[in-house]
Subunit: 349 residues, 2 copies
Amino acid sequence: MADVLTIAVDAMGGDRAPDVIVEGVAMARARFSCARFLLFGDEARLAPLIAAHEGLGEVCEIRHGTESISSAERPSQALRHGQNSTMALAIKAVKNGEAAVAVSAGNTGAMMALAKFILRTLPGIDRPALASRVPTAHGESVMLDLGANVECDENNLFQFAIMGAAFARAILGLERPRIGLLNIGVEELKGNEAVKGAGQNLSKTPLPLEFIGFIEGDGIAAGDADVIVADGFTGNVAIKTAEGMARLMHDLLGRAFATSLLTRFGYALTRRALKTELRLFDAEGQNGAVFLGLNGLVVKSHGGADGRGFFAAMELAMEMAADDLCGTISANIEKIADAGKDAAQAAAS
Amino acid sequence: MADVLTIAVDAMGGDRAPDVIVEGVAMARARFSCARFLLFGDEARLAPLIAAHEGLGEVCEIRHGTESISSAERPSQALRHGQNSTMALAIKAVKNGEAAVAVSAGNTGAMMALAKFILRTLPGIDRPALASRVPTAHGESVMLDLGANVECDENNLFQFAIMGAAFARAILGLERPRIGLLNIGVEELKGNEAVKGAGQNLSKTPLPLEFIGFIEGDGIAAGDADVIVADGFTGNVAIKTAEGMARLMHDLLGRAFATSLLTRFGYALTRRALKTELRLFDAEGQNGAVFLGLNGLVVKSHGGADGRGFFAAMELAMEMAADDLCGTISANIEKIADAGKDAAQAAAS
């Protein structure tokens, strides 16, 4: 990891800002000695919160700003009126090289619009995508797009695969991540045109990734792929369905354990083992989604995250920044372009 | 319920036919005194299996047939070569009025193609859909389409809503089921054109159903809607994602309980309560998917179901047959058509 990594923090985004934001920053500082923080927000509120943590002031710089974007604001409104918001200022710090990554718990749509407007997409990438971790039988996989693009063609899906592979490399440490296209069957004939076309292109790519073909919905939790690629509609529905089902089972477990004195005792005996096995279903610990495909790194924390949750999003930000994620995506997109040119020349000669 | 309901059973479909099929039939006979069974399959194999259950022969009639459709066969092949298969014969028994419903654990794609070819779609329905139950925080909801139609327009989704409402009425006993359209946000502006268009049409329908608008993926398990409507691609991914996540949590629970002697003891104390709370996650007990929108009822059992699983699919078949599901769908489609004519006349006059 580099000597110093600076994180730009939107200190006013989310339901519980700025208190939980500063809490998360304090945790990140304890974990990463190389981290420095640019906090964008109301100085009068931030200064005492920072002062409450001994020594935190030494690694934090407050950039005063009071404009914020509400959760109800539309992306188009955010673009028109939000250019001086603390969210936009944090993203601009990435753009001008002051920070390696920006983190916000604010409005997702606004963040996507502002990040795309300020940072622009990487050369060769048509559309950025939203990616996140998902718990599986083997640990964790990554999944994208989670809702940035309602409709996608085969080229979008192909680019998502490249972006997702770089993301998996950065945060899961995999040299050759296994890529799966989410579909309604594993046979080649199944699915819509976009999925079929992307499958054909991925099966002949020269990149350091392993395309394992189509996977079905139950393959997500089974850990069949390290990177699950979908259009934003399907991906969003899938990840939220998975979250909802995990929450339901969690609630039903709680109800079962609360049935009687005996079941309460049973819970006391198994609590620690349950916590260990179900650790990846800890929403706070797994918090953090990423906009991939931009000239710069932007991480979205859940709006309702607590300090530990915001810390998890910052941890994700640190891992990506340390791995030069954008550089990996660009290099792979160039390889694809070169391979395309070679193929075209070979065909022409 | 009618005095006698006859079920046409494909006795040769699925991985464990005909043994588990006859087991399921025996259970259905114990549960439903009004049930009669037409078993399509190899008489030499079926006769001794039936004879092993005292009195079962009195409510069963074997229709000899030995042609079956393999799980690898494509729908088009099944249509060409499978017209005398036990699956096709069972569906034809519904067509010619001998049975109220057909049940098979065979090849899904073949069953869909044969059912559509033999029974035809109901007037006013463009495409049949595959529907099933899904466990929620409030008990059960129904969801469709689960994969019969990869791409759907707003009219398809609208018709699915009507079909799903009739299904919910039949198997959940709801007079005014709450219909939700699966989407990536709850705001009116979210989603693709098909979802937005169907949402507008549903919000002004005169039918006895309550359209609650869009729901997100996590609304499925939360029980936000009684009927969850989606195109076949999204619905298939969502239900399989939910199944996969439930299975993963189940496996992790098992691992946690197996950690030590103490956790095993803890499990012994909570086992019964867990079983009660998680009963809806019992794959065998919840087995059975339905093709809606045809001139006749067809139920698909999971291919790997055991006797209890096949019984659950037959139970679903009985509930639907007793409720005149096709009649309800037809009546509602007619109401919509009449309302459309009235509106057109009003506009013309």
